[in-house]
């Protein structure tokens, strides 16, 4: 199979071995697992995939810096006042910017923007004699073999490329500086600096490893490559001097050293920001972007409610992660953070809260809410303006919480719920029941909708209700895979013991960290991480440490190209 993307390569590899789709009861092929594509020939469904007993590394990836990583790195290299020009926007296939960074090809305009951004950043530093004197740290002269030029380029190059320049590289860039030293030596240095900022070695994370003396089939990341990978993963920026020095000292070549330095990165506030950004992608919070509600219908939904809902999730994530408890409790905790918008929406007392101030609250023990799936963000972004969507809510539970893949509806079907023509009021549930009489819909909807019905006590902005429009009673019964449940609290309780929740957290983090889908040969690594996550009581920070110290984070498959 000819394929060009990173993602595609891992898929293509999986396709090479016939796989078995997980089938729902009733035989409808409604779900599968992402990264385990169904066989193209249905006759082959009887073969079970060959999962290796031991972890097998996958091909290396070449992620370009995400827009955030690029900006952070420039700030780190040139200081807080450096001009930051726009660069090509990220894409987020499979939810993650990191996967987009490793699979998309930069456009011509994107490359041009890097040229202009490098020009602007270096002009900022070098056009000011005082600033450039401090930045370069010595007095260069335009002469072959100038020590100051070489010293500066070696120092800057190491920070920019996240490794020391090879002697030939240093010589080449020194020659560039000399060759372009018109009208003066500073201009040559500036252009060499701008050149380094446009080098693919800067714009892309080159983490290709070196041969593993113990295993010819794989390569191990060098210390510098580990510094880069750790820093971009945990801080979304280039490694600092301490981490580069650790690489130089050989401290990033073993589990202990990596763990020690990762712990330092994790203790920094930059790790918190990076974790937030990860959760926003994992939880697909982008779907809340731009969601509005008609104020006439929903007076509780103010101009600031959307942003408040998003902020609440951030605070909750921060709380769950920094507290170090069971990360899975994000789906069941009574604890949350509300401002005045959300206090009104949830009907809870929140002394001290106003629009800008969030205060921690414990939701009532006997109330309807517990966990993320009962909060505004989830309930609103998975509902329509005029009615709730048990389908969208159930689909989120399947796809985002449990990492299942749900088939989209077949083409040209009526995905809308039409009120009956005789005008009798019907609940969304009744409309969906109608809808499920169509056999081509029933296979998936009987899988998606039952968990979605559990949220029927919450309207399209997440307000609690006991009556539906038309004064019909709320029926919030449903089930998850045959376990009968009544209401979202029941689901929250069930999710505290559902093994798939933790596994899904591991899988998504792994994909994000490795910038691609997991390959079949990596399943043992996922199993290891899942077990370790469980052993630590599902502590998310502990999972991060387990992941970065796992061999999967620092080995790649050896290939002829290398």
């Amino acid at each position: 199979m000819k394929s060009q993307g990173i993602v595609a390569r891992s898929l293509a590899r999986s396709l090479a071995a016939p796989l078995l789709l997980a089938l729902v009861t009733g035989g409808a092929a409604c779900i599968g697992n992402l990264g385990d594509p169904a066989p193209l020939d249905p006759e082959e469904t009887t073969t079970v995939p060959e999962t290796p007993a031991a972890y097998e590394p996958a091909d290396p990836v070449l992620p370009r810096l995400t827009t955030l990583q690029y900006r952070s790195t420039l700030l780190q290299l040139f200081g807080p006042n450096v001009p930051l020009l726009p660069t090509e926007a990220d894409t987020s296939p499979y939810l993650f910017e990191s996967i987009g960074a490793a699979s998309t090809t930069l456009s011509e305009l994107g490359v041009e923007q890097y040229e202009q951004a490098a020009e602007a950043a270096t002009q900022y530093v070098f056009s000011d004699p005082l600033r450039r004197a401090v930045f370069v740290g010595c007095e260069p002269v335009a002469a072959p073999g100038d020590a100051c030029t070489a010293q500066f380029l070696a120092r800057f190059g190491r920070k920019a490329l996240r490794r020391p320049l090879a002697p030939a590289e240093l010589e080449r860039w020194s020659n560039v500086a000399l060759g372009l030293a018109q009208p003066d030596v500073w201009e040559g240095l500036r252009l060499a600096t701008a050149g380094l900022l446009q080098s693919p070695h800067f714009l892309y994370r080159v983490e290709l490893g070196e041969p593993d003396p113990e295993d010819a089939a794989r390569r191990v990341l060098t210390g510098y490559e580990m510094a880069s990978r750790l820093s971009f993963f945990l801080w979304n920026t280039a490694p600092d001097d301490a981490l580069l020095d650790a690489a130089q000292a050989g401290e990033l070549g073993n589990q202990d050293g990596i763990g020690k330095h990762a712990a330092r990165l994790l203790a920094d506030s930059r790790a918190g920001d990076t974790i937030q950004r990860y959760f926003a992608q994992y939880l697909d919070l982008g779907r809340l972007e731009g969601v509005t509600r008609n104020p006439a219908t929903y007076p509780l939904f103010t101009a600031t409610t959307n942003a408040s809902m998003r902020r609440e999730v951030e605070l909750l994530v921060d709380h769950i992660v920094t507290q170090g408890g069971d990360a899975r409790t994000i789906f069941s905790t009574q604890h949350t953070f509300v401002n005045s918008d959300l206090a009104s929406l949830y009907g809870v007392e929140a002394p001290g809260a106003d629009v800008a101030t969030f205060v921690p609250v414990d939701l009532p023990e006997d109330g309807p809410r517990a966990g993320l799936l009962t909060l505004g963000a989830f309930l609103t972004m998975n509902a329509h303006e005029t009615q709730t969507s048990p389908t969208a809510r159930g689909k989120y539970v399947r796809e985002r919480v449990l990492c299942q893949v749900v088939q989209p509806p077949p083409p040209n079907i009526d995905a809308n719920l039409e009120p009956p023509s005789d005008g009798t009021p019907k609940t969304v549930r009744e409309l969906l029941e109608e809808h499920r009489k169509n056999p081509s819909c029933a296979g998936c909807h009987s899988f998606i909708d039952p968990p979605g019905f559990l949220f029927e006590n919450f309207d399209s902005i997440g307000a609690y209700r006991t009556k539906l429009p038309g004064d019909l009673p709320v029926d919030a019964t449903g089930d998850l895979d045959g376990v009968a449940l009544d209401g979202a609290r029941d689901l929250a309780e069930l999710l505290t013991t559902d093994k798939r929740v933790g596994r899904c957290m591991v899988t998504q983090l792994y994909r994000h960290a490795l910038s691609r889908l997991d390959a079949t040969g990596e399943k043992p690594a996922l199993d290891d991480l899942e077990a370790a996550f469980a052993e630590t009581g599902y502590d998310f920070r502990a999972l991060l440490l387990e992941l970065v110290t796992h061999e999967a984070f620092r080995t790649v498959r050896a290939s002829e190209a290398l």
């Binding site: 993307g5 090809t105 693919p200 303006e385 989209p408 040209n412």
Partner: protein
């Protein structure tokens, strides 16, 4: 619009050789020996609007049951057809229109969801091919193309520019920044191939700078261009160590560097520049601004290919000015036909704005750009209520230097969409034995529209 003077063209240029290389059409046009060849080569444009048209019976039985009239299909066919309600805003520009077209590409069942109208219809209209199955993921709305979109296919076709080396191979522009949530694949329509998007330029000031800025320090620009040799050298080192897919990405990066280097070397080209735009985010006002900049660039010969994304597929643009509360994608799904009618009319008004600019702008030979141009306008499916890919939108505006017969309506129910591609590519003079892929292949054209050579 005044035509540019040769003196203006050369001002600030680095050297005569570079200018001659850059502007063969203008050189040819301005030199006495080719005075008889007064027609400049054609311009190809692509105009994209989101979410198709209001649904009607042609889209399927359920759409028929909704009972709304067909406001798109003109009531008569042939040349001089009677415009429909939705096409009335375009009538002054006499576009030719084909109705009834639909994708013919096969839809693999795996990964699931490839039949989604937004995705399938979009790819067929843009590329003549299906979505690339590898790496497709419906839940996260991840999709990519198997091949270039038509604007890039034309811009990179060896027979389109020939030896001409334009300032930009293509201009990729957009108006509405609204996209389908934050899924990054949904804010662009122009593809170079798999996982290779050209994000549209949406900021008028950025576009102005790209097209009309003349540097004050030519020596500096020369140094910037020279520096890129060193950057390319660095890329070559890396390339040797990569697998095929990543090598292709770095290859593309290198090619882009060469294009940028070429542009830096020519950066002294000055065109008759319009006034610096004043930002206005109203869709029609912004269309006017972007179209004006585009028309000036085309008149100056900076490029001969463009794409113009008014709104992106499945757009979440809220047309509050038309009374919509929800974003357009939701408005369609909610079945709000009257609103979709208003929004589609509005989007056609925007297209008319673009065509008006092209018509009113003349190139240095005095020819209206619209007479030289072929502007293909389309959307991702027939209608957005149920995502039917029946009756997709397909308009061809402009005379394409006489190769396109304007003001013709061809009706071909269930016709292969790629017949339109074949027609347009042949009109542009690109040898096209057939077009369309993976079930969508056809060698047929719309002979009522294509004027035989």
């Amino acid at each position: 619009v005044k035509t540019l003077s040769r003196r203006t063209m050369l001002r600030g240029a680095l050297g005569g050789a570079a200018v001659a290389l850059a502007l063969p059409t203008l050189e040819a046009m301005l030199s006495p020996r080719s005075a008889e060849a007064a027609v400049l080569p054609p311009i190809f444009g692509l105009f994209y609007w989101a979410n198709g048209m209001p649904w009607h019976k042609g889209h399927g039985p359920e759409q028929e049951a909704a009972g709304y009239p067909d406001l798109w299909t003109p009531p008569t066919t042939g040349q001089g057809y009677t415009p429909s309600e939705l096409l009335t805003p375009l009538a002054p520009y006499a576009p030719s229109v084909v109705t009834g077209l639909t994708p013919k590409t096969a839809v693999p069942s795996d990964p699931p969801g490839q039949e989604d109208g937004h995705m399938r219809g979009f790819m067929v209209a843009m590329t003549g091919d299906r979505i690339r199955p590898e790496g497709f993921d419906h839940p996260s709305h991840t999709l990519t193309a198997l091949r270039p979109s038509l604007d890039q296919y034309v811009a990179k076709h060896p027979d389109f520019y020939g030896k001409e080396k334009p300032f930009y191979n293509s201009l990729v522009l957009g108006v509405s920044g609204a996209r389908f949530h934050d899924y990054g694949h949904w804010n662009a329509i122009s593809y170079n191939g798999p996982d290779s998007l050209n994000l549209p330029v949406m900021d008028p000031l950025q576009l102005y700078g790209m097209l009309f800025s003349v540097p004050t320090n030519v020596d500096l620009v020369k140094r910037r261009a020279a520096l890129l040799d060193a950057v390319k050298e660095d890329a070559k080192d890396l390339q040797k160590r990569l697998g095929a897919a990543d090598r292709a990405r770095i290859d593309a990066h290198l090619t882009h560097l060469s294009e940028i280097q070429h542009r830096l070397e020519l950066t002294g080209i000055a065109c008759q520049a319009p006034a610096v735009p004043v930002i206005n985010e109203d869709i029609l006002a912004k269309t006017d601004i972007m179209a004006d900049l585009l028309a000036h660039a085309l008149a100056c010969g900076l490029s001969r290919v463009f794409s113009f994304m008014l709104t992106s597929p499945a757009t979440t643009q809220v047309f509050g000015n038309l009374g919509a509360v929800n974003d357009m994608h939701s408005t369609c799904h909610a079945g709000e036909w009257e609103l979709v009618r208003k929004i589609t009319t509005y989007q056609m008004q925007a297209f008319a704005t673009l065509l008006g600019k092209l018509q009113a702008t003349t190139d240095p030979t005095g020819t209206s750009l619209l007479d030289r141009a072929l502007v293909f306008a389309t959307s991702e499916y027939g209608e957005g209520w149920k995502h039917s890919v029946s009756e997709m939108g397909c308009l061809m505006a402009g005379k394409c230097n006489g190769a396109i017969r304007p003001n013709v309506h061809v009706r071909e129910p269930d016709g292969n969409f790629s017949k339109a591609h074949v027609t347009m590519l042949r009109a542009l003079g690109l040898p096209t034995p057939s077009f369309g892929f993976n079930g969508g292949e056809t060698s047929e054209q719309f002979s009522d529209i294509l004027v035989s050579a």
